[in-house]
């Protein structure tokens, strides 16, 4: 199979998954689309080097997670540079109003879920985004480069944090 055909197969099979993982990291729809395209670019560039050492699914997870984390690192720095006015302390409810306007397609509960996930620390975000995709502990460990035991411990704690966040922010989504 040539590179173009392989790329088409990979993208067609995984674009929804890539988009969903991006949803766990990036709030703004336009920005999310940029990151989505960057993931596709990295897949295109790295397709030649994909050796069947891991499954294509794990490989896609790795690329997506690394691109998303790279993006939010840069975004955080950019926000630090510009966050000097009163907007920097805008309430979460305000952010949600914007979310409602920019992402009308998503139902309330899912928007609530993504907003809670985005408030988690970066590594926790990564684990939850993979958990939501039904990735196994082994796949998560492979993507993160940590042990499966570590994945299970973290995931247990993160789920509790997520539930707590869900309850404390519930009123914002009613």
């Amino acid at each position: 199979m040539d590179k173009e055909a392989q790329f088409k197969t990979v993208v067609e099979a995984n674009q929804d998954r890539i988009h969903r993982i991006c949803c766990c990291y990036i709030h703004d729809e336009g920005e999310r689309q940029d990151v989505f395209q960057n993931v596709l670019l990295q897949i295109w560039k790295s397709l030649d080097t994909f050796a069947n050492r891991s499954s294509i699914g794990t490989w896609i997870y790795r690329v997506t997670v690394n691109v998303c984390l790279g993006h939010i690192r840069i975004a955080k720095r950019r926000n630090r540079l510009f966050a000097q006015g009163p907007d920097a302390t805008a309430s979460l409810a305000g952010a949600e109003m914007i979310a409602r306007e920019t992402a009308p397609r998503l139902e309330n509960d899912l928007r609530h879920l993504y907003e809670c996930v985005r408030r988690l620390p970066d590594l926790d975000k990564t684990l939850v985004s993979l958990f939501l995709e039904d990735a196994s502990s082994r796949e998560m460990a492979e993507v993160m480069g940590i042990s499966e035991g570590n994945v299970r411990v973290r995931l247990h704690r993160i789920k509790q944090n997520l539930k707590q966040l869900w309850e404390t922010t519930d009123h914002e989504f009613e």
């Binding site: 674009q15 929804d16 690329v63 984390l69 720095r77 509960d109 899912l110 620390p121 480069g145 570590n150």
Partner: protein, 224 residues
Amino acid sequence: MNLNELKHRHQAVKAPAIPQDDRGSAHPLNGLIDNLKALEAKEAEQLKTARPLWLIAAAAFLLLFVLSLCLPSDTVSPARQWFGGVLAAVYVLIAVLLGRKLRQLARIDYTESLRSFLDKAEIRHRFMGPGATWLAGSGLLALGVAGGVYFTDAILRRHVDPEHLVLGMVLYGLGYLLVCTAGIAFTYRNWSRDKSALLAEVRKLKREMTADQAVASGEAHLPG
């Protein structure tokens, strides 16, 4: 909150349609592939065009140095030849290092595990690694010494009283040190503005990754 139920609903979320080109391609991804190819070609082109200036300058310095060696010794003094040689060598070194850095930036591998990706990001974002510190230090020292020899030969011996020769050399040394310190401080300020926050973020993530390693060994105590 029913996380499992939300998980199922999450998995039903679809990606927005990838915009098609207006050429009516047979496959919806053809337009995207064309754009990706163009972008890849553009990046390769940028990488190519970033280097020639340094390479041309390095080649020009080398050529001047070789030419100066061919001139009779009463035209160009050995001190000047030394200075020219060191200058050319430092320039070649800068060209090589710059090329290496550009290649490193162009080849960020997003397919690695997060831990290994962060390890490499830490190396990319740090101010100066041990290798770069040694190379820069050696280059600056060589340039300083060769410049000193040239300065003494071309200026001090001709225009300064012999009894003030040492003072002149000390002043040269201090001046050179000041220029180097200012250069390093300026570079550090730029790095601090552009990269230090990224590096801190990478290190924070790495710390978070290792923080739970010890807890993981007590996994058997977890409920469920």
